[in-house]
Each structure stands twice: as structure tokens, then as C-alpha cells.
């Protein structure tokens, strides 16, 4: 379970997150949406401890993470799989090395077990057979899939996605959405998905949170967001720039 209370973060005096409070229960899939610069990615980075908030508390599995040192954070991060916007694969390593690096660090598996886990993870994202390719040889969609394979390989309790479908064609978007849903349906994973795309929200989220200028503008079900009588919410879901 993730529990965030009164979170504040600013850069150079400019507030990015203001008084954010939310909790994500076990097995839930939360989509965080909002315009560019609304603070979505910063929120996700705070949740994994990559960014220290100015104020507020973040609990992951009832452990306060925003005051933890690096070695304490390492234990928490072992239960979190993070999928970065453009995959963030290590350029100098093959696909297999990218995935096995995390397994060597975070698990006690032997070489054969690691190899098997890498193969299974790639199969899960329909990327079997790409083990020996370098990231430069992969398309944008393939990189994202390998990024997902790297995140799921450690069998995390939490999966964080930073804009998993941005910049992809509709078919690839649907395929990534199905993957996210597939992991979610196992019931063992709690997901937080940062996205711009309402289609991703409808396809994968149990709950949606709309950030606007660093504050929570809407927190509820994707089924009811269309009926909300708030111009900020309506502007985002319709994409109509003239509404405000």
C-alpha cells in the first residue's frame, strides 16, 4: 500500500506539487493524468525516492521512505519495478544484460535461473529472441516493451509506469495497455501509471487522479470522470483548448 500525505515539492521557488494526499491500496491500478508540467512525473519520482519532497510523508508498505538513506531505499526499491518514458535501457548493454543486471543485484538467483527469468520476462512482452540485440537496434515501442520486461523480471509488488504509451502508434499503444492490464489482472501488483492518454486510463486504470498546477483536481473512477462538471477536467478529457 502507498500512502502519501501533504506532499510539497518546488524547484527554484516554483511549486510543482502542492498538498498532495493520496493512498493506493494493494492490487489497485491508479492512473495519474494532467497536462505537461502538472507534476505527474515528479510525483512518481517522489514515490520511488528519486526525488526528495520538500514537505509531507510517503509511506510504501507502511515504511516512511522520504527520510530513508540510500541503503534503506535499496530494500524498498527491490519491490518496485519502474518503467521509464523512453525505456531508459543501458546503451552499452544487450537486452539480456539490461534485464539480468537487475536480477543479479536484487535476487539470489544463479546464472541459469537468471537466464530463464530473462527469457520468460521477454516472452511476457512478446520480445523473445531479442536477447542479443543492443538498445540502438530496437524501435521506440520495442524499447518500452524491454523496459517493461526489465521491470517485471524482479517480480515486483509495485509497478510504476512513466508515460508508457507516449509517442507510440495506436496499435502499439493498445498492445502496451493490454500488457499493463495483464500484469494487473494477476492481482499481485499495485500499479501507478503516469499518462497523457485518456485511452490508457479507460483501458487499464481502476482509479484516475487528475493533477492541475501541482494540485489534485479530480480523484475518482474512470467511469465517472466524463460526467464531472469541472472545466479543467473537461478540458483535459476532451482535449479542447478553448474550454478555459
Amino acid at each position: 500500500m502507498i500512502d502519501v500525505k501533504n506532499l510539497y515539492k518546488s524547484y527554484g521557488g516554483k511549486g510543482v506539487l502542492s498538498d498532495i494526499s493520496l493512498s493506493v491500496s494493494h492490487g489497485q491500478s491508479l492512473a495519474v493524468v494532467g497536462k505537461s508540467g502538472a507534476g505527474k512525473s515528479v510525483l512518481l519520482r517522489c514515490l520511488i525516492g528519486l526525488v526528495k519532497p520538500d514537505n509531507g510523508t510517503i509511506y510504501v508498505d507502511n515504511k516512511l521512505i522520504n527520510t530513508m538513506n540510500f541503503s534503506q531505499l535499496q530494500k524498498i526499491r527491490a519491490s518496485i519495478g519502474m518503467v521509464f518514458q523512453f525505456g531508459a535501457l543501458f546503451d552499452s548493454m544487450t537486452v539480456e544484460e539490461n534485464i539480468s543486471l537487475a536480477l543479479q543485484k536484487l535476487t539470489k538467483l544463479n546464472e541459469n535461473e537468471i537466464q530463464q527469468r530473462v527469457h520468460n520476462s521477454l516472452e511476457e512482452v512478446d520480445m523473445a529472441g531479442t536477447e542479443n540485440l543492443m538498445p540502438a537496434e530496437l524501435s521506440g515501442g520495442m524499447k518500452k516493451r524491454v523496459g517493461i520486461a526489465r521491470a517485471i523480471a524482479i517480480k515486483p509488488a509495485y509497478l510504476f509506469y512513466d508515460e508508457p504509451t507516449t509517442g507510440l502508434d495506436p496499435v502499439m499503444t493498445d498492445s502496451i495497455n493490454r500488457l499493463i492490464r495483464k500484469f494487473q489482472d494477476t492481482g499481485e501488483v499495485t500499479s501507478v501509471i503516469i499518462t497523457h492518454e485518456m485511452r490508457t486510463v479507460y483501458d487499464v486504470a481502476d482509479r484516475v487522479l487528475l493533477l492541475h498546477e501541482g494540485r489534485i483536481q479530480y480523484d475518482g473512477s474512470p467511469d465517472t470522470i466524463n460526467n464531472v462538471d469541472d472545466p479543467v477536467v473537461q478540458q483535459f478529457i476532451t482535449g479542447n483548448s478553448t474550454l478555459i
Partner: protein
């Protein structure tokens, strides 16, 4: 107008801030030294990239530096008041004390410093460093420590190679282009040689190596602003490293040659 007046003040503050962050990074590196054995394979990779792959360019530059020194020394001895064998002394001392470590450092600033800054800077802007952290790796131990250790080992070795080829270059130029025999050159070389001079060059190599790689790692690690930021980090690495090299060159000479 007001902004123009504030520029020196802001530059001073930015410089102090930069020095503070550099010192902070150096402390983190120092703290992570105890875990060097966990990153041994990465360090061996860097020994190869920083050291072995740099040998051809170090040989080339040191060879020509020695040749130029030899020709210029002979040119200044044209008066006839100074015996020819002094060419060997001049070449030997110049190469051991200054040319080999200095030329190696300047060449390595371009070859290794710029590469490291661009590599780590690209990793920063493409979120690879964040990915490393999210996978519970300490980016300082994983990315920076192996590079600095490798430089500390390989720079003195490269200086030894530069010493040898610098002297060989000087000898070649003296024998072929001037009226200096092989034996005269060796006589001059031995006449002024002190073992400490060779050690001094190696100590300089060690300091230059650590300075260049740590500046490059610092610039890369704190890169912001996409491709432009990577370009800025690379330029800053070359400029700052050159300044650091001449500064260290003076400090080490002032301390060790008194």
C-alpha cells in the same frame, strides 16, 4: 542593465555552487572506495578503454614532442658555445619532467574526458542514471568509481610510455637531422638524469588522471537540458580539465621540486 551588473556576482555564486557539488561528489566517491571489488569487472573494462585504447595516440604525440624538443634544442645551440651532447640532457629532462605528463594529460582530456562527460551526460538526460538508482545501484559506485580508479592506474603507465617514446623521438631527430651521434645523445641523457625526475612525471600523471576523469564524471553526472546540455558538459570538461592541469602542474612543481 541591472542583469549585466549582476552577471559577475551570479557567476561567482554559480562557481562556488559548482565547487561545492564537485567536493560533495568527491566525498561520495571516497566513501564508495571500499566497494571497489564489487565493480572490478567494470574497472577492468575502463582500464582497457582509458588505458589500452589510448596507447597509439600517446605514442604519436610523445614521439613528435620529443622530436620537436630535440630540433629546438639543437637550434638554440647553434652558437657553438654549448656542446651538442646537451641536446640529450634537454630532451630527457623536458620529456620526463614536463612534456610526457603534460602532453598525455592534454591528449587524454580530449580523448577520455570528453568521452566520459558525453557518455554519463547522455545517461543522465535519457534517464539511465535514474533507472540505475531505481534498480538499487549506487550510480557513483557503478559509473564514476571504476573510471577514476582506472585513470589512477593507467595515467602513470601512459606517462611511462610517453617518456620512452618522447626520448626515442628526440634521439631519432638528433641523430638524423643534426650533427649529434647516438652516443653523444645518451651521454647527455645520463648526465642530467635523476630518478626522482621520472617519479615526478608519474606523480603528475596520477594527479592529472584523477583530475580529468573526476571533472568529466562531475560534468556528465550533473548534466541538464538534453542534447545541448551534453554538449555544454563536454565543452566544460575540456576547458576545466585544461585549467586544472596547468594549475596542478604549477602546484606539484612548487611542492615537489623545491
Amino acid at each position: 542593465m541591472f542583469r549585466f551588473l549582476l552577471y559577475p556576482f551570479n557567476l561567482f555564486i554559480d562557481t562556488l555552487e559548482g565547487i561545492g557539488r564537485y567536493v560533495e561528489l568527491m566525498i561520495s566517491i571516497f566513501r564508495s572506495i571500499s566497494s571497489w571489488n564489487k565493480y572490478l569487472s567494470l574497472t577492468i573494462d575502463q582500464l582497457f578503454h582509458i588505458g589500452v585504447l589510448s596507447i597509439p595516440i600517446v605514442i604519436l604525440t610523445s614521439l613528435f614532442s620529443g622530436m620537436v624538443t630535440s630540433v629546438q634544442a639543437a637550434y638554440q645551440f647553434e652558437s657553438g658555445f654549448v656542446p651538442n651532447w646537451f641536446v640529450g640532457s634537454i630532451v630527457g629532462e623536458s620529456v620526463l619532467l614536463e612534456l610526457a605528463p603534460m602532453m598525455t594529460a592534454l591528449v587524454m582530456t580530449g580523448r577520455i574526458g570528453a568521452t566520459i562527460a558525453a557518455e554519463i551526460g547522455t545517461m543522465r538526460v535519457s534517464e539511465q542514471i535514474d533507472a540505475l538508482e531505481s534498480l538499487s545501484f549506487d550510480p557513483v559506485s557503478f559509473l564514476i568509481l571504476p573510471r577514476i580508479l582506472a585513470a589512477a592506474v593507467m595515467f602513470p603507465i601512459l606517462v611511462i610510455i610517453a617518456d620512452c617514446f618522447g626520448i626515442v623521438g628526440g634521439l631519432f631527430a638528433a641523430v638524423n637531422a643534426m650533427d649529434v651521434s647516438y652516443l653523444e645523445f645518451i651521454r647527455g641523457l645520463r648526465n642530467w638524469f635523476r630518478p626522482f625526475d621520472a617519479w615526478f612525471g608519474l606523480i603528475k600523471g596520477l594527479f592529472f588522471g584523477v583530475a580529468i576523469t573526476s571533472i568529466a564524471c562531475y560534468q556528465g553526472y550533473y548534466t541538464t537540458g538534453g542534447a545541448t546540455g551534453v554538449g555544454r558538459a563536454t565543452t566544460a570538461t575540456v576547458v576545466n580539465s585544461c585549467v586544472a592541469i596547468v594549475f596542478l602542474d604549477y602546484i606539484l612543481a612548487a611542492i615537489l621540486l623545491r
